[in-house]
Symmetry: C2
Subunit: 160 residues, 2 copies
């Protein structure tokens, strides 16, 4: 879709964060912002290599910052602008945070051309655990379900 002026301005901020990130050597060429009621409430830049955190993608960083600022673990009524189509991890994070809408600029195909190919991870996730390249084993322990029984009984639990 063609961007409105406002949408373009928010996306340009996400792209500026991505460009800054390259210049400073902070991490990969990705930036993201979270917007609520026309105001940016969270910014994120890929910080994987500088923070030694493989989960520190731009979208995850922006979600974390916006949630801190809202004192909430949900992003109701928020929009996420990201310089590039989210990877599967970030998509998962988006579904847990539940913003109302996502906009991206570069496509996954453009990212793949630049060496950031997410198709491998997209292909691995739907596989059954034992079929995945990272061997994933079910250890059968009697206590595995006890945890959920305790959760159901707990009076301290906060559903999320």
């Amino acid at each position: 879709m063609k961007a409105t002026k406002e949408q373009e301005a928010f996306m340009q901020e996400a792209i500026r964060l991505a460009l800054d990130n390259i210049k400073t050597g902070n991490g990969g060429p990705f930036g993201a912002v979270i917007v609520k009621n026309g105001i940016i409430i969270g910014r994120g830049s890929n910080s994987v290599t500088s923070e030694n955190d493989p989960t520190a993608h731009a979208e995850v960083m922006a979600i974390r910052e916006a949630c801190k600022n809202l004192s909430n673990f949900q992003l109701d009524g928020c929009e996420l602008y990201t310089s590039c189509e989210p990877c599967p991890m970030c998509l998962g994070a988006i579904y847990w945070a539940r913003p109302s809408r996502v906009y991206f600029a570069a496509t996954r195909e453009m990212a793949a051309e630049a060496g950031f190919d997410d198709s491998y991870i997209y292909n691995q996730i739907p596989l059954q655990p034992h079929e995945r390249d990272i061997p994933t084993n079910h250890l059968k322990l009697d206590d595995a379900f006890t945890v959920f029984d305790e959760w159901v009984l707990s009076e301290k639990k906060i559903p999320y």
Copy 2:
């Protein structure tokens, strides 16, 4: 598979973290540990509600801590023990962190029975962006690919 004594001990630690998490009200009933050369180098408990961070699942927290302790954004030669089969976000995080093996105790079906049903997110991720329930739009901007050109030319970049 049936657990060895060592595997069982590590998984019991992950389960202990999950049980503690319920008792303290810190978050959901999930725990995880990362093991390298027979030693636990990272622990994580679901902290979504206490930290207002929707990405603070046990596996993500354990990955972050282990990476900090290793001063590395990769978990080569490490094993992840998690009290429950990872959700798609955590699977993505696992593929970015690249441990050599994953063990889980409760299955996704057990988790669904207790109200933690990941199947919705598993079903959303493979969809094309415009088909998803959270509307995801491609904003076509001329600058979208410029970022990758800058990355390719950058002398500061650290591939990950």
